[in-house]
């Protein structure tokens, strides 16, 4: 017997990204790389970005972990190409808002496939799984742009 919450957590789109992750490979000519792990559960990713003219030209990752962490980072990478620092940072903030139950953020079309992860907000112990990729992104932005990140 599946609860409605479970159904909303494990949407087909999430399982599809988990099984067929996008942009999962080493990135040639990367400008910045961040390793982010959750020691509690062993989920880990290495996020690699190629930056050109202060914009993210390419984003790839390698990693392993649960469906939520791996689907979230896969979805995230599909949305980064061509974004500036501010735009990428904004995306991270909107996603974090959605994870903390912000209904408006959950309707933000800018979040693309990531909106499928809205159900994670009902599972507090899994929110950190969903945020692993964005934590890595924000770390990468900090590294690459130094004091400019806000």
């Amino acid at each position: 017997m599946e609860t409605p919450q479970l159904t909303s957590l494990y949407q087909q789109l999430i399982l599809e990204h988990y099984r067929n992750p996008r942009n999962k490979s080493e990135l040639d000519g990367k400008s910045v790389e961040v390793h982010m792990a959750n020691p509690v559960c062993g989920d880990e990713i290495r996020l690699q970005l190629r930056i050109e003219d202060d914009r993210i030209a390419e984003a790839k990752f390698v990693g392993q972990g649960c469906s939520i962490s791996q689907a979230a980072v896969s979805m995230m990478t599909t949305l980064l190409e061509g974004r500036s620092l501010d735009e990428a940072d904004h995306l991270a903030r909107r996603f974090t808002d959605m994870m903390h139950g912000d209904g408006d953020a959950a309707k933000d079309r800018d979040l693309g496939d990531l909106r499928a992860l809205q159900g994670v907000s009902k599972f507090p112990v899994r929110i950190k799984c969903a945020l692993l990729g964005f934590d890595a992104l924000q770390e990468a932005l900090k590294k690459e742009f130094g004091g400019e990140a806000h």
């Binding site: 919450q5 479970l6 988990y18 972990g65 799984c129």
Partner: protein, 421 residues
């Protein structure tokens, strides 16, 4: 404290009634996500019986005082209860005397105590410490720290495809430089029961001391430290119905007496002067500072509770559940169960993966059905690496679990399979 009385240490099988046992654990009588709780995470920590909870309240309501310090009535009562609990532990593991029982925060602190007190005194550059791949991080990292400080070498006993120690080349692994052999009695990640006596005999022949991590062993097997023949045995209260924050290091008197203290402070001294001090006799030499008095008393009560039910009866019940669980789990498509095939070589722990569902997803889905299991590396990353996985799901059984809990687990796993189909 005097010597051990001759009273029976463990009760009899007479009428083990799991429903009656369950009724004594208040935390089990609740619903999680609209379903009755099926608590299958006792290898992480056990639930606590009413008797232990009541003992904690009673101690704080009536007897609370510091031990070994006061002349007044409450201090006298607290001291008696605290030392009586030590005696109860000593009888439970068949220690030669209560003074060989050191109170610690748990297994981890007990193992660190041996590494830092006996280890720093006795291990020199070039010496060897032998542990196994099967160990919990708490029986790996303290030895790494010791090895680094002393420039000693850490060596490993490997495990086979069923997660059992490979002991065929034990005589090669033990050399004249081996000072310490540290091994778990029962694996927390896989449930493997290790042949401690065999390791002890070989280690002693080589002149090494044997430290046993009994965090799971003391819970799932009757422990007789004198029969095991080890030199140190460490275990925790919280996995055996006692509160968190209390545990035990048992050690042989001659070793404990020769060891330097682990921490300095009150209670562990005899005379303090400006430049130096002299130490109290064991066990107090290793118990600096105000101890976890309520925890120790709670541990004594927990042991009385277990003894009344009877350790043999508990083990028999757990083995019955384990057998039933394996019988129900093995036919599930795409399940991979880790650990020994033979029931006689494993305790009531089932570590598994299911298809491409990550263990955390398994745990979330099971939790939605009220079934609590552990997911992760179980503080045994070397074991995970051995099997080429990053984590597993782990269901562990204790005296209060019943067949319905197993059925609920199996039903929950069907849901996992459906979602990840």
């Amino acid at each position: 404290m005097g010597t051990i009385s001759a009273e029976p240490r463990r009760g009899s099988r007479a009428g083990f009634d799991v429903e009656r046992v369950r009724g004594q654990f208040p935390a089990l009588a609740q619903s999680i996500n609209g379903q009755p709780l099926a608590y299958l995470d006792s290898a992480a920590t056990s639930q606590k019986p009413r008797a232990v909870l009541d003992a904690l309240s009673a101690y704080y309501e009536h007897d609370n005082a510091n031990v070994h310090r006061g002349i007044h009535e409450l201090s006298r009562r607290a001291t008696i209860a605290f030392e009586d609990a030590r005696g109860t532990v000593a009888r439970w593991v068949n220690a030669a005397e209560p003074a060989e029982v050191i109170w610690t925060r748990g297994t981890t602190e007990a193992l660190n105590l041996v590494a830092m007190a006996w280890g720093l005194d006795n291990v020199e550059e070039g010496d060897e410490i032998l542990i196994s791949v099967l160990e919990h991080h708490s029986n790996i990292v303290p030895w790494q720290l010791l090895a680094q400080r002393r420039r000693a070498k850490l060596r490993y006993i490997e495990i086979d495809e069923q997660g059992r120690l490979v002991l065929d080349d034990l005589s090669r692994l033990l050399t004249e430089r081996t000072k310490i052999v540290a091994i778990s009695h029962v694996s927390n990640a896989l449930g493997t029961i290790n042949p401690i006596e065999r390791v002890v005999d070989a280690a002693h022949d080589a002149g090494a001391v044997v430290v046993v991590d009994g965090a799971q062993g003391a819970v799932h097997t009757p422990v007789d430290v004198q029969a095991l023949g080890a030199d140190f045995y460490a275990f925790s209260g919280h996995k055996m119905c006692a509160p968190t924050g209390i545990g035990v290091l048992w050690g042989r008197r001659d070793l404990l007496e020769a060891m330097s203290p682990y921490q300095g402070g009150g209670e562990m001294i005899s005379v303090v002067e400006r430049e130096q001090s002299t130490w109290a006799a064991i066990p107090h030499k290793f118990e600096a500072g105000t101890p976890n008095i309520a925890g120790a008393i709670g541990m004594g009560v927990a042991i009385d509770f277990l003894a009344e039910i009877g350790m043999e009866a508990i083990v028999e019940h757990e083995q019955d559940l384990l057998s039933y669980a394996l019988e129900r789990l093995r036919p599930i498509p795409d399940i991979r169960i880790f650990g020994p095939d033979s029931l006689s070589e494993r305790s009531a722990v089932v570590s598994f993966t299911l298809g491409d569902a990550h263990p955390h997803d398994i745990s979330t889905i099971l939790d939605s059905a009220g079934v609590a299991v552990r997911a992760g590396h179980h503080c045994a990353q070397l074991v995970m690496k051995h099997f080429g996985v990053s984590s597993t799901a782990r269901a562990s059984f204790y005296l209060y679990n019943n067949r319905d809990d197993v059925d609920r687990l199996v039903a929950g796993l069907a849901q996992v399979s459906a979602i990840f189909a």
